[in-house]
């Protein structure tokens, strides 16, 4: 059996894992990251897209607020290209206590968050759609951040530093000799191949799944509660700044303009299994009603897609033993399994939020260095990520300006998200994935109003050509994509989006009849059914 040798094995390809790999690799360690699906497919890709200023926590949780503003400023330097500098409002709606605004201002000032109260009419001029009954408005440096771009860029930097990123590699077991963790055995989920990754240090960065991985390492009691939050992407930018309710953190209290859409979030419901977060109609209703409070007419706007993300909420049943770990803040948890369980070569980092992913990685790798008895300087707050070396923020017109420059030389494959053919082909070659949903996340293919109605047929044809896959694989890929998309659209099919869905039905069934495409060879099917 083949095996892979590395210094550091990172388990988990969300923002935390990708951030750890980026940090480890840029400090000069040999790095391998394994992820059971695609990068950013779990919690990371299922949030609202907010780069916190810290304002949200300024009253409730000062430490979290201070971490947020610190990281907000760092990420603006090192990950500028993933950030749109929208700015943020905290607004007092008729349903909020106006006096909370004073506590909010004070909290922000205490935590070093630049805050200013502006006259509501000025806010209405800038954001004409927001509720005219809003009585107070505060500005803070919130921003929108593209989490997929961020993890891909962390992966890119990791690879530039000779690290390996193995997506679709599931951890089957943690390798342990005595009290020492020596890596993990993994399976390539696409080829079925199984092999061992031997590592001096193994870092468990699997978010809501961290308890399961810690159990594999024989470190029980790492309990990560899964907190489900649903979000709805609305067609168009209903607002151009992040709009938060000026109140204690609650459900449905934020509207984030990101790329061509705006996202309303979110809820917080404990669920048992982080793999199966479903969306209920009651939750959809709640989000729409909350949206109506921020932007009157919200229910008449078009909802594109709904999804549920799973927050990892850490609870250590051995809490007393680790409560003095100075690196552990209330918002995320770094578990030193040497101190906690007497197991060396193994660290768990979980909890936290996307805004603080880099800081979490830095703390984790500092702890790792301490255990290894070495000191290497963290580079992630200094050296920008590859796509951010120009230091320029993302701006809404970025793709359009590129399109305009090459309008007559290249084909526009996804009209909604302005994705051109050459770029799509390049990404397909880079990714070498036959899964259209992976391509969707990599370039935002099919994420606009038509939800892939037009571009997915094209993308299937292009994928078939670029990857030289057989027609069965291409057909399966398209059908899987349509099923995956349906999950996200069917709970919000009303109004114009129901019209859109009906048009898409006509395209995929009435024109293309994808339902009757063969998805596997007859002989393969016969063998599967009668082995």
């Amino acid at each position: 059996m083949k095996s892979v040798q590395t210094e550091v094995l990172v388990i988990g390809g969300g923002a935390t894992g990708a951030g750890v790999a980026w940090d480890v690799a840029t400090r000069g360690f040999d790095t391998v990251l394994v992820e059971r699906k695609d990068l950013g497919e779990g919690t990371t890709g299922r949030f609202h897209g907010l780069l916190h200023s810290g304002g949200r926590y300024a009253v409730k949780d000062k430490l979290a607020a201070e971490e947020c503003i610190h990281e907000n400023l760092v990420l603006r330097r090192v990950a500028a290209n993933t950030i749109e500098n929208t700015g943020g409002y905290f607004v007092t709606t008729p349903w909020d206590d106006p006096a909370f605004g004073d506590r909010f201002m004070e909290g922000c000032r205490d935590c070093g968050i630049p805050v200013e109260e502006i006259a509501p009419p000025d806010a209405f001029r800038a954001e004409p759609r927001i509720n005219r009954d809003i009585s107070r408005v505060f500005t803070v440096p919130d921003a929108a951040i593209d989490a997929w771009k961020l993890v891909w860029d962390c992966a890119k930097s990791t690879k530039e530093h000779n690290g390996k990123i193995l997506t679709y590699h599931r951890v089957l077991d943690i390798l342990r000799t005595g009290d020492v963790v020596r890596g993990a055995s993994v399976r390539n989920e696409l080829s079925g191949e199984e092999f061992d990754v031997h590592a001096d240090v193994t870092i468990n960065a699997t978010g809501a799944w961290a308890g399961k991985v810690a159990d594999m390492a024989g470190c029980p009691g790492v309990q990560v509660l899964a907190g489900k939050g649903i979000m709805i992407a609305m067609n168009h930018r209903l607002v151009n700044v992040v709009v938060n309710r000026c109140t204690m953190p609650a459900d449905g209290d934020i509207l984030v303009p990101i790329r061509t859409v705006s996202v309303i979030g979110t809820t917080d419901i404990r669920i048992k299994d982080p793999d199966e977060p479903d969306v209920t109609q009651a939750e959809v209703e709640q989000m729409l009603d909350d949206g109506e409070k921020l932007v009157p007419g919200f229910r008449r706007a078009r909802a594109l897609r709904v999804w549920a993300g799973v927050r990892p909420l850490f609870k250590d049943v051995r809490a007393p033993e680790t409560s003095d770990t100075r690196d552990v803040s209330r918002s995320h948890a770094l578990l030193d399994h040497e101190a906690r369980d007497g197991v060396t070569g193994f660290l768990t980092i979980t909890g936290g939020k996307l805004t603080t992913f880099r800081m979490m990685a830095e703390e984790t790798v500092d702890k790792m260095c301490e255990q290894l008895g070495t000191r290497r300087e963290c580079r992630t707050s200094i050296d920008p990520l590859p796509a951010s070396r120009t230091g320029k923020f993302y701006w809404l017109g970025e793709r359009l300006s590129k399109r305009e420059a090459t309008m007559h030389e290249d084909q526009l494959i996804c009209e909604c998200e302005l994705i051109q053919r050459r770029n799509l082909e390049r990404v397909m070659k880079q990714r070498s994935s036959t899964i259209l949903d992976d391509i969707r996340r990599a370039v935002r293919l099919g994420m606009g109003p038509c939800q892939g109605g037009f571009c997915m047929y094209r993308a299937t044809g292009i994928l078939h050509d670029v990857e030289r896959i057989d027609s069965w694989t291409a057909n399966r890929s398209l059908r899987d994509f349509l099923q995956e998309r349906w999950k996200g659209v069917q709970p919000i099919l009303y109004g114009d989006q129901l019209r859109q869905a009906r048009l898409d039905d006509w395209i995929f069934h009435g024109v293309l009849d994808v339902e009757h495409l063969p998805t596997d060879r007859l002989e393969d099917r016969a063998e599967r059914e009668h082995p």
Binding site: Q281, L288, R299, R300, A303, M407, H408, E409, D410, Q411, L412, I413, R421, F454, Y457, R458, T460, G461, I462, H464, D465, D470, S471, W472, A474, N475, L478, R479, L482, Q483, R485, W486, K487, Q490, L493, Y494, G495, D496, L498, R499, R502, L503, D505, W506, I507, H509, G510, V511, L512, D513, V514, E515, H516, L517, P518, R521, L522
Partner: protein
């Protein structure tokens, strides 16, 4: 006073309007926009799946209607479907439709599945795979809406009822269009109307064909003179040529639309586009006028008979709000078959979708019914996609329902008016 007001100019509205006008009635055809013909492949698919492949619609229809008593075909009747197809076929000369209700063609789609269609433009017919064949699929580099390699591979793997051998391969050509990498199907179709362009394309293809292959191209072979373009290409290549319909806007759909509109207008009919019906005035069981939003005001259109051909959920004629309330927007007709909360859609995309069959219930003369089966309006008929009871895109029955219901509504109106 006008005799008939038809609202909506997809296939069902156009057919109803044209038949009434040709029967000597004075007809106005109102439409918000150009209608769903531009989205459809331009074929008349009567019944393709039940849920197994249907080879002979005339044989399958009576049984299908018996088993699905709420389906539009159960109201329209198999005999009317057959008569409407004959009437339709006879309307076209030059650019002709071919086929009969006794058989379905099996035509390759733009992704290479094979789709059953009953009446098809002559320019598509040589793609029929029932007897197998050797096919060459030709892609046009500037068109992003056709991928011949995938199509050819899927077609080569297709299994037809006869099991006849199919072989298929793909080539890509680059028609002479300077300075444009991204050309739409409609723009290409206009270029094909130019004989010089057609010659250049024919020359490129003839260097690539082999043996007795039939040649398949995306359905962009001309907009104004499609028959000449198609025949010209067949002649130049010395072999059958066929078109494959693709993503909207559909060139065969636009041709169909323009031909029917021209016939309606030359018979003296009046077309008003950009006019959305938004409400109605009624007295007892009669509609007296339809209120129409046009030019920034609401104007009543009075008539003796009204035909509702505004479409279903797809056109916005029937709407569902974010509070899950469903409404038909002109007459506020009751919408039947809307599933209860939690059951509107199956979470599996390829399952049957309960919501798909919601719509307006009709009687055998296509008058709308209320929940207890009582006729609501004596001078209103309902046609096309707003009729309840079909999942047209799955059954491959959409254009068949539109054509036959439009045809039958005209029969009702003509009988009642004369």
């Amino acid at each position: 006073m006008r005799d008939v007001l038809v609202m909506g100019m997809g296939t069902s509205g156009l057919v109803a309007a044209l038949r009434c006008q040709e029967a000597g009635l004075k007809v106005t055809l109102l439409a918000k926009g150009v209608g769903s013909t531009h989205l459809a492949p331009g074929t008349i698919d009567v019944l393709g799946y039940d849920p197994e492949l249907v080879e002979n619609p005339s044989e399958a229809l009576p049984r299908f209607a018996d088993r699905n008593p709420e389906h539009p075909y159960a109201r329209i009747g198999a005999d009317v479907v057959a008569r409407s197809l004959e009437w339709f076929s006879e309307r076209f000369d030059g650019y002709r439709y071919t086929g009969s209700v006794d058989e379905n063609f099996l035509l390759p789609t733009a992704i290479g599945s094979i789709k059953p269609s009953t009446l098809v433009p002559e320019t598509l017919a040589a793609g029929d795979l029932r007897k197998g064949g050797r096919l060459l699929f030709v892609g046009l580099r500037q068109l992003k809406d056709f991928y011949p390699a995938l199509t050819a591979q899927n077609v080569a793997n297709a299994k037809t009822p006869s099991g006849a051998d199919i072989s298929a391969r793909a080539v890509q050509i680059e028609p002479p269009i300077s300075g444009e990498a991204d050309v739409t199907g409609l723009a290409l179709a206009r270029k094909f109307d130019d004989p010089g362009f057609l010659d250049a394309v024919a020359t490129q293809i003839s260097a690539l064909v082999d043996g007795d292959e039939a040649v398949g191209l995306p359905a962009v072979l001309g907009l104004r003179r499609p028959r000449e373009v198609w025949e010209g290409l067949q002649e130049a290549l010395g072999r059958p040529v066929f078109e494959i319909p693709g993503l909207p806007p559909s060139v065969p759909g636009v041709r169909l639309h323009e031909i029917l509109v021209a016939q309606f207008e030359s018979a003296g009919g009046r077309v008003v586009v950009g006019a959305e019906a938004v409400g109605a005035d009624t007295e007892g069981d009669r509609v007296t006028a339809v209120r129409v939003a046009a030019a920034a005001r609401i104007k009543p259109f009075v008539a003796r008979h009204f035909v509702l051909a505004t479409g279903g959920f797809g056109s916005g004629a029937i709407e569902m709000t974010s509070s899950w309330k469903v409404r038909e927007n002109v007459f506020d007709l009751p919408v039947m078959g809307v599933p209860a909360d939690g059951q509107r859609f199956s979470p599996r995309y390829f399952d049957r979708q309960p919501m798909g069959r919601a719509g307006i219930r009709i009687d055998d003369s296509l008058h709308p019914l209320d929940g207890s089966g009582r006729r609501l309006y004596a001078n209103l008929t309902v046609v096309g996609a707003c009729i309840a009871g079909s999942e047209a895109w799955r059954e491959k029955s959409g254009e068949g329902i539109s054509l036959s219901s439009g045809y039958k509504a005209a029969t009702t109106v003509i009988e009642e008016a004369m």
